[in-house]
């Protein structure tokens, strides 16, 4: 995220000035247009890199500046404790909903991507690909409406069954919701929403598996599935993680669908009773009622900052996981 823009710029000038010796060297004047193009391109690249950093910095500054009111008040001094008590149920709620979404969506996405890339007849694979991409084109408010008025009620009997048979597990304890508008329903809706992004990233990377390695596995007597575990998955590992992280990013930040589906409440371990809330939903529901400049608004912005930091940590962790096995990635 940081380096590409900067790392090019220092190399450039020295490279140029080194060759600027006066004299009759026939090699000096050639291809000035190409040199110009090179400079322009490196300038544009630098600018784009800087633009991202600046935007990011502005967002971070805005969030930090406006959230001061939530953790510091002149009469009471630092009130970090109070803010944390407010924020942590939301953080946990957000993580639970995203986790449910990931656990449900990842296997399906990987399966669909594998089917498209390695199992289906070519013509069918294209149309399935389009259909999956279509899922990404549905506005999140539509997903929210679907979750609220269809999926939720449809899951009510499931919740009842879970409570009856697995009620001893804290996840399924508590009163099952009669409307189905629970954190689990929200997680399912999120799963459907992040399915396309994970699928298309996985599909792209699966297709790129070198034929060479697939054939190596097959020639050793691997079945199709063994070939996939020997050649495709190891090759695609980093790509799958990136796809999942992109999906997680979307799930963490998804606002509208969760706000519509979930009937928010206090933090509870139960997935099937109403309760819990997520950061984006809390902000979306609370913001219209928070007067500008008020403590409430500062509080909402502050949890926005918390979400920002969580997402940052998630992305950095993903990158770390991807890099950890660089030696074995096949890039060398």
């Amino acid at each position: 995220m940081t380096s590409p823009g900067e790392s090019h710029s220092p190399a450039k000038p020295t490279d140029q000035s080194g060759r600027q010796e006066p004299g009759t060297n026939a090699l000096t004047s050639a291809d000035s247009g190409g040199v110009m193009g090179d400079r322009v391109f490196s300038g544009v690249a630098l600018l784009s890199g800087v633009a991202i950093l600046v935007t990011l910095a502005f967002v971070a500054i805005f969030l930090s500046f406006n959230s001061v009111g939530a953790v510091y008040r002149e009469e009471e001094g630092l009130i970090l404790q109070q803010f944390l008590e407010y924020a942590y149920p939301l953080v946990i709620g957000t993580l639970i909903a995203s986790l449910i979404a990931l656990v449900l969506a990842t296997p399906v996405a990987v399966g669909v991507a594998l089917y498209i890339s390695h199992f289906s007849p070519p013509r069918l694979s294209k149309s399935i690909g389009y259909l999956i991409d279509l899922l990404a084109a549905i506005p999140s408010v539509v997903y929210g409406a679907w979750g609220m008025s269809f999926l939720g009620p449809a899951l009510v009997p499931v919740y009842g069954w879970l409570h009856q048979n697995l009620g001893f597990i804290p996840l399924f304890a508590g009163n099952p919701s009669q409307t189905g508008r629970t954190i689990f329903t929200a997680g399912v809706v999120l799963a459907v929403m992040i399915l396309p992004i994970i699928t298309s990233v996985c599909r792209e990377i699966f297709i790129q598996t070198p034929k060479l390695h697939e054939e190596a596995a097959l020639a050793l007597g691997a079945t199709r599935w063994e070939m996939i575990t020997m050649a495709v998955f190891p090759f695609a590992r980093a790509g799958i993680i990136s796809g999942v992280m992109l999906g997680l990013g979307r799930a963490l930040g998804e606002t509208m669908a969760v706000a519509l589906v979930l009937s928010p409440g206090l933090l509870t371990a139960s997935l099937i009773s109403s309760g819990n809330s997520t950061i984006p939903a809390e902000i979306a529901l609370g913001f219209p009622e928070a007067p500008p400049g008020s403590v409430r608004q500062a509080q909402l912005i502050a949890i926005g900052l918390v979400l920002f930091i969580i997402t940052l940590i998630v992305n950095m962790t993903a990158r770390w996981i991807v890099n950890r096995h660089k030696e074995f990635s096949g890039a060398n």
Binding site: A216, L220, A222, P234, F235, E327, F328, S329, N332
Partner: protein, 259 residues
Amino acid sequence: MSKSITAKDLNVYYGDFLAVEGVNIEIAARSVTAFIGPSGCGKTTFLRSLNRMHEVLPGARVEGQLLLDDDNIYGPGVDPVTVRSMVGMVFQRPNPFPTMSIRENVLAGYKLNGARMSKSQADDIVEGALHGANLWNEVKDRLDKPGSGLSGGQQQRLCIARTVAVKPEVILMDEPCSALDPISTLAIEDLISELQQEYTIVIVTHNMQQAARVSQKTAFFNIAGTGKPGKMIEYAETSTIFNNPSNQQTERYVSGKFG
């Protein structure tokens, strides 16, 4: 171990396109047989039909019989997976699994059989296979390093070790030296003549000197023109093919008049 190969009127198709027509050949066990011929003449296609690898491409199929000793590998109910575990293959470009260490690469095929093995058994297999591929001394201190960190020639020998580790009956080699320098090529050729004690080896090569050096028998393939099927023109002792071929096309090819 090691079995003979007999092809009877073998036609190889890609969809409707007949790529190789009417091959009849008998390859003896424990020998090296070279396939030579100009590009596109179907020798690689035929080689890949010997372990049903050509079926990986959609629409590819075979007519005729291909016997491994007495069993038709294209017989009804024959699983290509079984065939491939008996007929190993080494490819044109070295292709060790990049995410696996040298040790894991050698064991990759072995593990497919699902056989549980102790660490010492696995160590024996790794050492045996790497010795068999003349690679042991070069890699014994870095078995846990990635296979992709080796040189091209070492990688190719690693691939041979991986193939040898599953104890196949036959080893097919598809231009195994075409991406290697002369020294590595020499190492592979030495290896081939050692492997021949135990395995039936079929090698496709563009290098006629190589065919002359490593093989006992040579088959010459040719193609009448683009869009026409490739055919096996002549199959005989290597010395006969190179010194006294009976077919004029063979004579012109081995003397460098075309191809």
